[in-house]
Subunit: 127 residues, 2 copies
DNA sequence: GCAAAAAAACGAAAGAATTCGTATTTTTTG
DNA sequence: CAAAAAATACGAATTCTTTCGTTTTTTTGC
């Protein structure tokens, strides 16, 4: 069984994935409207992007209706892991510690979140 | 005073930054040799990339010698923060917690590293 | 000093990513 | 049902990234 590996999403493609993760399965129009909140984008531009993403297996499309319904082919989790793993290699020489440090110093993180991160650490260590 | 903002480094550009952070200020030849450990790359290819990066203000170059010496224009830290911040927005809707979780579950992290991360959390919280 | 080597400059080709105009198909609505 | 609207398909222009061949400049070794 040959399963060609899915390419990393490009910049605009990631925007679309983000939207679909948030909205759930959607039409091109819905995605396009969300895109426009971020940056003016013609309808056919969004359409074309989504068609290409479908070819690349980043999205799957339900054609049973006339208005096609698109959704991400991979889970948010898997994609995020891929992206983080990639950045980890390329910018941090694989040091997760460094990356975590940068992530925490970039954004304010609430006490609640810090607590959850601690809990996570416990689990990693416990195992 | 107009300071045009530096663009995000592209893929190959990041490879070069990574090399320069590791080696310190270097000539094109040195960088090119390091590039070739990763992937066959012609000398002039590396040269051109570095020239473009200099135009874009990603690198600065010392031309006082005939062999120009290049170094990153920004610190490793600042660039990493930028990259993480960008990924945070684009793929994680700004949730540092989620990103940290993904980072930790992607790679094995040693007990020692986990301990250091804990310490870091303490500092963030203490403040 | 001169030929060979090393470095830089330049231009342009090849490849991707992004954008959008136009044409075609299907549905909606008056 | 006919016209308008909505959606998809298609192709192509544009822009950005990556690569490298050729030319020019400078240094080095004999």
């Amino acid at each position: 069984m040959v399963r060609k590996k899915v390419p990393q999403p490009t910049d605009r493609e990631l925007t679309i994935l983000r939207i679909l993760w948030d909205l759930g399965p959607s039409t091109v129009r819905q995605v396009n409207e969300a895109m426009n909140k971020d940056r003016a984008t013609g309808y056919t531009t969004t359409l074309k992007l989504m068609q290409i993403m479908t070819e690349k297996r980043l999205l799957v499309r339900d054609e049973s209706q006339w208005k096609h319904i698109y959704k991400p082919a991979m889970s948010e989790e898997r994609t995020q892991k891929q992206l983080v793993g990639d950045l980890l290699e390329r910018a941090f020489s694989g040091s997760a510690e460094k990356l975590v440090m940068r992530a925490l110093s970039t954004r304010k993180v609430s006490a609640k979140e810090l607590a959850r991160i601690r809990k996570m650490l416990d689990e990693f260590e416990g195992k």
